[in-house]
Amino acid sequence: MKLALHDTPNLSLNPKTSLWKQTQKARVAFLYLLPSILLFSVFIFYPMFKTIYLSFFLTDQQGEAALFVGLDNYQDLLTSQSFHKSIKATLLFVLYTVPAGIIIALFLALMANEKLRGIGFFRVIYSSTMGISVAASSVVWLFLFHPSTGMFNRVLNLFGIAEIQWLLDPDWALFSVSVSTIWLNLGFSFLIILGGLQNIDEHLYESARIDGASYWYQLRRITIPMLSPTLFFIITISLINSFQTFGQIDILTKGGPSESTNLIVYSIYKDAFINYQFGTASAQAVVLFICVLLLTILQFKLGEKKVHYQ
């Protein structure tokens, strides 16, 4: 699980060996990578370059570049209040969903990793949200959040607590969307973490148990370090996914109220699909891309140190 891959000493190749020989491994690797590279080029890199290109233009109603404006789109973004709001909402959203989601998933996975009767049932239940589409789940959550017939407000009423405008109050909306997102992503994180847990050598726990290490001590000194590659993976994925959340927003809030849930991706979607402003949409996409990229690099740089690789 190393990003800092070992470049093996044999790259200091014997000068006698021909270039053809030297590149043999690279050529074999290329064959393995070919399908990916082809598909990526067509469906990701090309559109990405197109996006970057478009971000320097104002586009016409057909979505074609019409007027070169240089960095104007970026400048506009930086001064645009609603983009600031977007960024803030996105960061908050990431902050709400990623740590909480992973901690809950870890908690569930730890429980489900115990060897108990019927544990399979719980594993299925805990991973079930993975099988539920954003569309389907958001519809259900919409119902749960419903201001007049929703389950949540009913429960609050039951306890005599003032109703909450879950999706209508800008102070609550992001939170509510986050809750449903955490729920939705839980299944996947759970499965991944459970897999990681099961891959830890049982002998290590045996040894620790003999030493008399408490559950928490084992958790801290063995489980978490041994799980760190998995955690690292799921954190990276969750971060990226969280930055790209779209479906829930579209169904639950459409970016409102008062743009409080207008995450960047949704803002991009709106600009591109509803307002036909591909130029600004592209500029946002590029900004988002750079943000996520930087964050991921940062994560790899910092996180790597804490991650133990087998």
Binding site: Q61, S82, P147, S148, E163, L167, S258, E259, Y276
Partner: protein
């Protein structure tokens, strides 16, 4: 083999002329109707297909209005373009400018088709420079829905709903019921949707954009922060501050549920939603005209909903099929069926004389109010509706402004902000226009 089939199907839409020989001409009809609307549209299309044997129209759902448009934009002018496409009213300007569509006026002129049989107030919207670009299809307007039982309970006249802004305020005050900090029933509510704002401005005679709502010339500036617009915002602000306004967000179903469960006593809904609401609400539902400001006269409503457009660049035969279908839709029988099934207006008023409509109206007389309101509309550039290419964005700005307003924002400031943002979008759009 599946994919081969599809290729054949799509090539039917293309401009190859030889398809005429082989049986009936098949054309695609892209629409954005889901739920019961989709059922109704499929019924109507079926009727058409059975009524003759030269053409077969295939209704194809393409997502919401918002989702349909970018898709059409991408296939427009190619062989994958459908013969007929449904577009919401605020996409009109975009469609006209796109160059992908054939104005129906050319067929009207060719066939000397009499469009005067159609509802003038509807045609007005889709006409530009006396040229009809698309065929109106599913048209709606907003109306005021109220809970008659709540009216009685509050000692109000259930047969006489409030007409002006002030009356709304008074009624709302009377209808609001509190229980400690929780409000059990709000007097008034409005979906946080730009459409209702546009209608409330229009009914006062206010314009949304300059250049006669964009109808005499390309609109260059938004004008909805005029006094008419401000009155609407003030009304909502006052109601909200008084605690008489219930905010149920941007979701149609939420506000309907609120009304039907008695959480809201009055709200505005699309005429297309009236039938269902009457059916589902456990109490008597009253329907009234939308309110206007006390300072002005009632001008009426702008038409909403969508119309049908014909693609350009497809084969003559396909265009012919599209045209035949459009004509069929305007027949009183088709319209009557459509109106009864959906609550959308009959484009052809003759439909209202059909028996099924009469039966329906007898059953729920409230439905007639929607038609009355439309027919009572005074034609003007205000009630004709605005034509701007960036209409969707403008609506969004209004939504944001409304949301901010409900959170304690200043009406004037929020409105100005929305106008400013809209202006910017208009400016960009005009700049990039070819």
């Amino acid at each position: 083999s599946q994919s081969k089939n599809n290729e054949n199907e799509s090539s039917n839409n293309s401009s190859e002329d030889n398809t005429e020989e082989s049986g009936p001409v098949e054309v695609s009809f892209w629409h954005a109707m889901s739920g019961s609307g989709q059922e109704a549209i499929e019924d109507v299309v079926n009727d058409f297909n059975e009524s003759q044997d030269k053409y077969i129209v295939k209704p194809e759902f393409q997502g919401s209005y918002e989702e349909l448009l970018p898709k059409f934009r991408s296939v427009g002018g190619t062989k994958d373009a459908p013969a007929i496409v449904q577009t919401y009213e605020i996409g009109t300007k975009y469609m006209i400018d796109s160059g992908y569509i054939e104005p129906v006026q050319s067929f009207i002129d060719r066939d000397n088709y009499d469009i005067n049989q159609l509802e003038a107030n509807i045609l007005n919207y889709y006409k530009l420079d006396d040229k009809l670009y698309s065929m109106p299809f599913n048209s709606s307007t907003p109306v005021l829905l109220y809970n008659k039982e709540a009216f009685k309970e509050a000692g109000l006249d259930a047969e006489n709903p409030p007409k002006t802004f002030n009356e709304i305020k008074e009624a709302a005050a009377a209808l609001t019921k509190k229980n400690g900090s929780n409000t059990e029933r709000f007097g008034f509510s409005m979906l946080t949707y730009g459409w209702f704002f546009e209608e409330l401005v229009a009914t006062q005679g206010g314009l949304f954009v300059n250049n006669d709502n964009g109808r005499s010339d390309q609109a260059t500036e938004a004008t909805f922060n005029s006094e008419e617009g401000l009155r609407v915002f003030n009304l909502l602000n006052d109601l909200n501050n008084a605690g008489h306004f219930g905010n149920f967000g941007t979701n149609w179903d939420d506000i309907r549920a609120a009304f039907q469960t008695g959480k809201v006593a009055m709200y505005m809904d699309s005429s297309a939603g009236v039938t269902d609401t009457i059916k589902n609400a456990p109490f008597d539902v009253g329907v009234g005209f939308i309110p206007y400001a006390d300072e002005t006269e009632r001008q009426g409503v702008v038409i909403g909903g969508a119309s049908l457009w014909m693609s350009k660049g497809i084969s003559k035969a396909n265009q012919e099929a599209a045209w035949e279908f459009m004509k069929y839709l305007q027949t009183p029988e088709a319209q009557a069926k459509w109106h009864v099934a959906t609550g959308y207006f009959a484009i052809n008023p003759a439909a209202y004389d059909e028996q099924i409509v009469k039966d329906k109206w007898a059953e729920s007389p409230q439905l007639k109010v929607t038609v009355d309101q439309l027919q009572a509309t005074i034609p003007s550039v205000a009630t004709q509706g605005a034509l701007i290419s960036v209409f969707p964005e403008a609506r969004q700005q209004v939504v944001t402004a409304l949301e901010n307003l409900y959170q304690g924002g200043n009406p004037k400031e929020e409105l100005d902000k929305a106008v400013e943002a809209t202006n910017k979008a208009i400016e960009v759009a005009n700049k990039t226009k070819k």
